[in-house]
Symmetry: C2
């Protein structure tokens, strides 16, 4: 590891900088901004001069110079270039190297294979943030606040390297989740990659639909297909890089889909309901807000005219009632000039909120 040069105004703890960020896209630039916010020196590189100029202009760091000796290198490039960029960083510096890629076992194996002597300085990472937007203009030092950030040491990662990556995660305000690289990849196959692929299969059916059929689209199909709007090239890279874990789960999906088809074809209502009930159990297994067990909440529905200021008025009136709003959803069915707004609040607060809103003239739906 490089002997770090203390920077004026540096954060306390093991991470003192400089931090090098390779790849000034959304996540890389956000890491740079978070490190700068903590007073660390940040040096940037990117194959795109535009991205580099934009990121530097936003205050995420300065352009890397040959004589720079970073303490930590954060590799933030697309999945296809990850292993190569990590290996290059290990060879070019004696810094600790981490990355922010969506898949972790491939890069770890590549680093081991190509450069075993230096592999102890590599610790993988994956912040759960920013998959739908892209580019440095969307970056923010606050992007990682309170988000899970997987830290995935391999068997040969040095303890001081892990500590340094943990310090980066803390500096970014994220919540560390320690996982083995292979376990990480299995987890995101389940929580991200397979949901994305099935969302795309639902959405692909809409692309082929007769036009008047889609007039019946409600909020449900909009929710199921939202993630399918993501960049096909990026998701193609991500899914390909996690082929083994994705294929294992897709095999399960194929078998259960076969079960569903058989049950519907035979009129086997119990078989169909059993699959649907497993789905209900799955929705309940997702951790609640702030990692807490799912709380008892209730939805309050309010009709809101669709013009400026009306939502403001609604939230002002809800705020005046002293009720914390856990979630909000605006109904988007086509043709609806009056919006139906769903406010999710603690069960115990629902009646009070309804009464308060009605007293202020809102049309609620009990």
């Amino acid at each position: 590891m490089a002997e770090p040069t203390a920077t004026p105004g540096a954060a306390s703890g093991p991470l003192v900088g400089p931090v090098e960020v390779v790849g000034a896209g959304l996540v890389g630039t956000s890491v740079g901004l978070a490190c700068r916010r903590a007073g660390l020196e940040v040096v940037l590189s990117d194959v795109s001069p535009d991205h580099l100029r934009t990121a530097a202009g936003l205050g995420a760091g300065r352009r890397r110079r040959p004589e720079d000796r970073p303490q930590l290198v954060v590799v933030a490039v697309p999945p296809d270039h990850l292993a190569e960029a990590i290996t290059a960083a290990l060879a070019a510096t004696d810094a600790v190297v981490t990355d922010v890629g969506s898949v972790k076992s491939g890069p770890a194996a590549a680093v081991h294979g190509s450069d075993p002597a230096r592999a102890d300085r590599y610790v993988g990472g994956h912040p759960m943030a920013g998959s739908e937007r892209s580019g440095p203009l969307a970056a923010s030092a606050a992007l990682f606040d309170g988000r899970p950030w997987a830290i995935t040491p391999h068997a040969g990662s040095a303890p001081h390297a892990v500590t340094l990556v943990e310090a980066l995660v803390a500096l970014c305000g994220a919540v560390p989740v320690r996982l083995d690289p292979v376990e990480h990849d299995r987890a995101v196959a389940r929580t991200s990659h397979v949901p994305h692929l099935l969302s795309a299969l639902v959405a692909a059916r809409l692309a082929e639909a007769p036009g008047d059929h889609l007039a019946l689209s409600g909020q449900g199909v909009r929710d199921v297909t939202r993630v399918a709007g993501g960049d096909p090239r990026l998701y193609g890279q991500i899914v390909s890089a996690n082929a083994e874990a994705v294929l294992a789960l897709l095999g399960e999906v194929q078998r259960e889909l076969e079960t569903v088809v058989g049950a519907v074809a035979r009129g086997d209502r119990d078989g169909l309901e059993a699959v649907l009930a497993r789905g209900v159990a799955g929705t309940r297994a997702i951790p609640g807000k702030h990692g807490a067990p799912p709380a008892q909440t209730r939805s309050v529905f309010v009709s809101v005219p669709d013009h400026p200021g009306e939502l403001a008025r609604l939230f002002a009136d809800a705020g005046a009632a002293g009720v914390n709003i856990e979630d909000v959803r605006i109904d988007h069915d086509p043709g609806r000039p009056v919006g139906l707004v769903e406010l999710t609040v603690a069960e115990v607060s629902a009646e009070h909120l309804l009464g308060s809103l009605e007293a202020r003239g809102w049309l609620t739906h009990r």
Copy 2:
């Protein structure tokens, strides 16, 4: 058709009442409330005395008496009992009969088969509203405002019967979408039933996940699986009643899933990206707000502390900027004490809104 008795304060047009509602659940009670709002007499029946008492107590109508002679009967019972209840209503009265069931070709065929002489008085209907909540307590006269409401006459439906159902849809404030019963069922298989089943298959994988894997759940998997939380018995009935259309689409899904599995297994990036690109096209095919072509919108991200009044303050400040908010989404990643709120606004308004919010001290994410 019954010679309608004019009710004092009745709505103008062909629908003068009385309206009979069979089944005082969410949708039936809401129809009753909308008819009462228009001054029509409404009579109610339900196998559950509790539902009946609650609906009547809410002002959705009075209990049906043997001597009542409705002009229009609205059947609002679960799918399994639909055909039977429609046939019974045609036999018991000389009223026009419609229903609000999720599937339309089965009931039409059943009515034709069992009671061809009376089938001219039956016209199917399906309001796109209320699938996640249930029971009369959730009902509202405003439930249908601006929502699509499919009207599905069969070949033998009498024109005056269609006109009367159209009048009901107008009275409820909904937007009529005329479809043949078979076309309707194909449409909802695509926009509702198959999305629900695939959402359940994604969610079922979560039910089986090692606990620490779900710590990586983000907003994407929450969106994809939301509808899978619906009542398995109700969705089992709905899917079973639309078996033919659902099976045709599930066959397409199976073939395309096979393609995905093959592409991932072979490392065929082009094949995988082609499926993902069809998904993107599908998300773009969904009609925009108010049935308009999808507008150019942009997302503005703002960090909001998670306590009462903060959302109110945000919306008040956004309202002061005079910008109409098209959509709002609160990030629910676990462990996030500061919420990330996404405001969707017209592209042309985004910079103005960002500037206004920043001037008022909000942390925006550009």
